[in-house]
Subunit: 227 residues, 6 copies
């Protein structure tokens, strides 16, 4: 947020297995496993449904209406990264289109998370390059002012440090600090392993009230039934 005109080339990426493995769990389960922290604001929406990815964050800080640093961050992408783009003020312009997506994809990026707008969404969809954004807009940008690459940024209300793990799907986008990636993967897997059995019970008509033993605490809290 505070450093402009700098590109950090060497960042410490989270454990690769964790970064890759979290996608399968999905953002909701990962968010729960984190203790319900790390979620970007829910106005961040995918440009098409069905994409489910995770990867290591490389970050870029841009100015409103200026996508110059997008080309700078492209060089810092490594296989398995997800680019996280923050803007120094509110903006809905289309910072990113099919040419940049071609470049990002060639460099190994799995997705873009951008707190602004994106365009060429039809082509991006055909390319299977998912983007989570605040807006879709034809409006292009100029290339005039320096931002920064691989500094900590605030994207859609959440702090993202380069190397953190990003998990994104139809439900939203979660950031997992790299130091917590492995523990979160483990916790998320444990959560998920318990869900199959619960689902079967609920499908059979068992109530959550009974399965989670909620009747007593509800009564203790004062819940009254009226006929």
């Amino acid at each position: 947020m505070y450093e402009l005109g700098v590109v950090y080339r060497n960042i410490t990426r989270a454990d690769r297995a964790a970064a890759d493995g979290l996608a399968a769990l999905g953002s909701a389960t990962v968010h729960e496993a984190m203790g319900r922290v790390g979620l970007l604001k829910p106005y961040m929406r995918p440009i098409y449904t069905g994409a489910q990815v995770s990867g290591t964050a490389v970050t870029v800080l841009l100015h409103p209406g200026d996508n110059w640093m997008m080309h700078v961050v492209a060089e810092q992408i490594r296989e398995g990264d997800i680019v996280v783009a923050a803007i120094t003020a509110e903006c809905t312009d289309g910072y990113f289109g099919d040419l940049l997506a071609t470049s990002f994809q060639a460099r190994g990026a799995r997705a873009l998370i951008i707190d602004a707008g994106v365009r060429d969404v039809k082509t991006l969809t055909e390319m299977n390059f998912p983007v989570w954004s605040k807006a879709i807009s034809s409006k292009g940008t100029i290339k005039a002012t320096l931002g920064s690459v691989n500094t900590p940024v605030v994207c859609a209300g959440m702090l993202v440090t380069p190397g953190d793990v990003i998990v994104a799907d139809d439900d939203g986008v979660v950031c997992v600090p790299s130091a917590r990636a492995l523990a979160t993967l483990e916790a998320a897997r444990k959560r998920e392993s318990l869900e199959g059995e619960k689902r079967a019970k609920l499908a059979a008509g068992v109530l959550g009230l009974d399965m989670y033993k909620m009747r007593e605490p509800l009564a203790a809290a004062g819940l009254k039934y009226m006929d």
Copy 2:
């Protein structure tokens, strides 16, 4: 809006045939047949397109970030119901996911209408369990505070009384008071029966100006044509 900590078990549901029959008419026709009242605010959007349902409302009032009462309302669901969830303050958290949907579906619910967020939307789509909501969000909720079940609630700006009929499709969500359900069904059917003929005329190039005999009243109102 005013009663907390209470569950009403016996509610009077609207006429079943009316509750079932209104789905086919769609929310726009039903809204017209009601005299253009009953619509929830248009920020309520379906999580996937194409669903078209109607059913009897069971209501639940929840606190921000707390979905405890979702498990309480599950027990009150009967075949053909639609759950209408209101929150005591603005909230976009994901109150509802695939486990609760499994339970609701097992109990016979046809849909959820919630003035907040929902998650696991990919799975809900696969389950064919439609939700109309204000937001999609991975953010989970706690289970700490009592709300109420089957009291009148305000959901997305509209009063919903338990037993009312809910009609929801891609155009939005309408609430039909149970006492007016049959009359509304009849009026909506009459509206629709007239549409086929109109559509054929318009498709043949007849203008609404002529079909609806608008030229005179427009001229009377002062409309001028310039060449």
Copy 3:
């Protein structure tokens, strides 16, 4: 914005070849070719994805909650037109549904651009009649007050003069003044013809930094790399 109660029957439409040819370029490229002006606000979204159209604007100015003039504008539509609807105040009501779409389509309209709401979106989708709107809403409208047809209007923040070219796709909606239509088509085609080569280079891993020769200006602007 200022004239009410008037219908202009004779408008000068933009060059037909330009009006037809711009669709293929898409709103983002056209917007760039215009010098990054002409875009309607990005809250204008298509009711279904994949439509890509261009055509000549016929305009209609409506009052909040009143769609009377929609029937008046229908008569002024010619093959290849796109109807652009502006409202004198903010409104999300559903001004337009399948009957009007049938009429518009029969008259030769290619699309509707409306700074308000639309309904019957399922049927409109089946009819392949695309609409870009601010909202989707079941709420119908009355027919009581005169607006105007084919006067200049402000739609979603952009001035649209009758006869201008409208270009709309998944990225948004652009208005090209009729006097600039041919030059814009030429400029947009030139832009696009250069994109194939660029895409191939970027796909091969060439960086935009090098392809666009940005390294020097970035260094001149003071960009620093840290290891």
Copy 4:
């Protein structure tokens, strides 16, 4: 919400002493005394600061851009009433200005609560006629369509039944159902009577942590202090 074209002349107003006495407690204390229910959405703001009122609700339901029923509700105002105006759809038009305020004030109204816009705010301020509204707008309205007077309405997300008590000040607007007015007055007074002592202690430097004996429950919940 559902009844149009009707004026109820005889409504049961809440206990007068309670309706008058609640103003002094303020909306925040009354809201707490109600069990944290009854608040209209916080986008409702006073047109000038410092007003603090309470009174009995007479309600009016209006259409977007149409203030005809404002003249109808004026006749139903009695000394000590507050007019609560709801609209059948979102609207920011200026439904109310100095002429209507003169009439309302002459009839004994203490304030207007309107889920839309208001104008002539400079004159209203000089007249000491407070309004809580969603917007301020010069845009006038027409007089064409029937709404209703003294039916239950949803205003800014809250159900208001004619005769309920409205409490409004700089913090917002609360609705107290008439049946709960006296009990709420009592509970609010009790809350307030305890505040003086607390304020003195806190001003003397005593911490809420100690005054409310929170240290133990915080530790029990797992709070950790780090040096």
Copy 5:
């Protein structure tokens, strides 16, 4: 909206007496006198209450985050002008502060209308230089890209042509096309001359229902009174 890089030095300003005289009538009366057109969106708010101005528009079109053209427009200001600033995309940055206000005031400007942000509001208030804006923000801007001066612009949803009359007060901002300025002044004065008598009657308790003879049309429309 469409022309960039141009400054028009010679514009035709509206009749001076009309431009000066409209302030006293206020934006609400002027808007009515115009036939309820011409209002900028109601999100435009004054930075302090009580200012009431009118004057001739000089326009400036700016890019997001770039106030370079503000210095260009300063030179085009004449005594009695009001600067109307539009932005090519949504932006809340603080384009204007006390230094520019000093310059504008020295050139004879009466106010600024800006569809973006402003800063130094405390000093502007002390200087009695009123601004109507979308936002207040400390965020400064750069000087890098050409816009235009004295071309038609869309500001807060309304077309403003250089030389038009702007009327602004606590209720909002209205644009009166220069050709209609005199007629509007006359119509607004007639409206106002009738208000004193009406106000006296309403203050005496006469109802609008009777004063405006609404009882019959209301009954004709079907209004029913219930006891």
Copy 6:
């Protein structure tokens, strides 16, 4: 954002003279002196106009609708601090009123910056305890869930680290990292020292075009004057 249930008692506060001295410069000048970074989103507004403060940040992270940690942070306040409150999700509830303000003020706090709502604003104004917030709301909060104190937080889109300097006035709120406080003070003073002379020139009618020598770069950029 990521750590819950922890209170850091020992934080390194920014240089006191810098923390105290920045108030006089104001948020706009400080923001410029920082290189146009550090601004919280402009929806953060003061509850009354005219307050201008700076101080060292103590931070608190709260859950939606839960102000328990407000009492915990009170104990960590030292003379000259400003409390910065962030919430784990969007919320407009009134977390803070006159009792907490009494406590904060007794502990030496100069202000509260909160990305949520506040209440008792009339009393807070009388107490001269300024608050910058997203909303004003009567809605109270519960005390049930642990957050944290003096961890880095994201407040209104900006990262705030405990000990940073907060500068707030009518224009907004800026965060200055503690390591940059002294340099920023110096840079801001230099900026301001140049303003008096500029203001005098502009007041005398000198144009910014000449004072800043902009005519040449504008011409070089292609600006054209038309008569």
